[in-house]
Amino acid sequence: MTRSRRTPYFLLGPGLLWLLVFFAIPMAFMAYISLNSGSLSEGFEFNWEWQNFSDALTDYGTQFGRTFIYAGVATVLALLIAYPLAYAIAFKGGRWKTALLFVVVAPFFTTYLIRTLAWQTILADEGPFVAFLQGVGLVGQDSEVLDTPGSVILGLTYNFLPFMILPIYASLEAIDGRLVEAAKDLYASSKTAFLRVTLPLSMPGVIAGTLLTFIPAAGDYINADFLGGAGQQMIGNVIQNLYIEQRLYPAAAALSFVLMAVVLVFVLAYIRFAGSEALMGEEEERA
């Protein structure tokens, strides 16, 4: 084959340049702005204003804490829902597998904001869900479900669930059934075979799913906005408000960086565990 050594760079060029100019460089600008002082009316000035970062943490520590609690709980719930479901589809789905996978990604076929608003309808004070909970005595007659941490976490769990199910399904589906049989031939109980064979082999999917759920959940502000009240504001709400409504760019940029740093720690830990191309699929390990 006589291919120029430059060919790959021509192929990569346009796309990577785009990512550089509209992703990497903007990040650098945000870093720069986060160290500015001043305001929109007085003008901004760059003078290594590290105070923006310490202010961000002291002023919005509550929202940060809340964000990681909500996103963390939502991720765990999504895992608890997704794993058995993915297992059922992969091993008990039979000829319905494709159809069931379809149903699993179905929420993605409706607009994100509308499906969150649908939960607003379902959980509304006068809605059937609250009436049911009151009927069976789980909540008091005048207590509400909407505008509580529970409703925000429920929305986060719901909205990012397919991100959890798909990678877990992919790794379960790739497991060679003969390995489980071999374990059983060697007198492992079903439970032992699951814990010692199936579960470890599906861990890449679990880790990918956890990240793909946690990352968007930690940055989300729609669920807190639609399903929460003033007491459920997450860090995304703060960043959105500071950037778009109040235009306090330096403070908002500093907050964005702290959020990004925390999320990056999770991702780097993951990459150490699973390899640098792991987020992009597992085909190479399988081949």
Partner: protein, 285 residues
């Protein structure tokens, strides 16, 4: 009890699926609602009125058309860029693969609110007016990585010997690509394009930061959520759902057909389902 143990996982799965479908059913059902006030939250009565007048709100139509045009343009550019990157990553050895991978994965690993804020920071710094063009730049940017992932997974399973056969039969590099490679990776490219289109159509967060006065479908919904969502939004959302389901079925069919085509190339002796060696005739023109 034994029955429960055997079928417990199925019951759990069915419940989980019900949880996933409930909001979609609610959206569809409330598109037939005849609400009394401006809030479409409580069921009041059945009407087809909003389906008959689905496109009677000019602001909503405008936002919806903006979204469609934006998604179409972003999809074309992102699909071309992403496919080229995927080809380079799978087919070539080159220096700088590590940084390239990082640049592709990082946008996926960054919360959308941070991506949107960073882009706005740059536009503010250079005093770029926000509008349709900034939306388009942003949508292309966040779609590229997704296209790369989808097309890349398709390319990894690609049997290169088919291309060699085409060359042996006298096809040039470009002919081989156009007549053999492209048709075979087409399902991946199509899947990537569909994903890019869906992501663009649905994007709220990054658009919220970089739209200026331009209004897309999700931005319209966000604005309307304060003063009451018109029922027509439910109608359009339900239509979108149905169209997407049909498109997905189409792509899955395509994928199956291509797999059947590709499996025709397994070495003699292994029985392969699907069309025989004749499937290659398309490449020997």
């Amino acid at each position: 009890m034994a029955w429960l143990r055997r079928n417990g996982i199925r019951i759990y799965g069915a419940l989980a699926i019900a949880y996933m479908l409930i909001p979609i059913v609610v959206i569809a059902v409330f598109s037939f609602n005849d609400p009394t006030g401006k809030f479409n939250f409580t069921w009041n009565g059945f009407t087809l009125e909003h389906w008959e007048n689905a496109f009677s709100l000019p602001a909503l139509n405008e936002a919806f058309v903006t979204s469609l045009v934006l998604a179409a343009l972003a999809t074309v550019v992102a699909t071309i860029f992403g496919t080229l990157i995927a080809l380079a990553l799978v087919r070539y050895e080159f220096r700088g693969r590590g940084p390239a991978n990082i640049l592709i994965v990082l946008p996926l690993a960054t919360p959308e609110v941070v991506v949107g804020a960073a882009l706005l920071s740059m536009f503010v710094y250079f005093e770029v007016a926000r509008g349709f063009s900034t939306l388009l730049l942003a949508h292309i940017m966040f779609s590229i990585s997704f296209v790369v992932i989808v097309v890349r997974s398709r390319l990894i399973g690609f049997d290169r010997s088919i291309e060699e056969a085409a060359r042996d039969l006298g096809a040039g590099s470009f002919e081989t690509f156009r007549l053999v490679t492209l048709p075979l990776i087409m399902p991946g490219v199509l899947g990537g394009a569909l994903l890019a289109f869906a992501l663009s159509l649905d994007d709220f967060v990054i658009s919220n930061f970089n739209s200026g006065r331009e209004e897309t479908f999700p931005l319209f919904i966000f604005g309307a959520s304060q003063r009451g969502i018109p029922v027509e939004v439910n109608v359009i959302a339900t239509m979108l759902f149905v169209v997407t389901v049909i498109a997905m079925i189409f792509v899955v069919r395509q994928q199956r057909r291509a797999e059947a085509l590709a499996s025709a190339s397994v070495p003699a002796g292994e029985s392969a389902p699907g069309p025989g060696p004749g499937a290659l005739s398309a490449g020997s023109a």
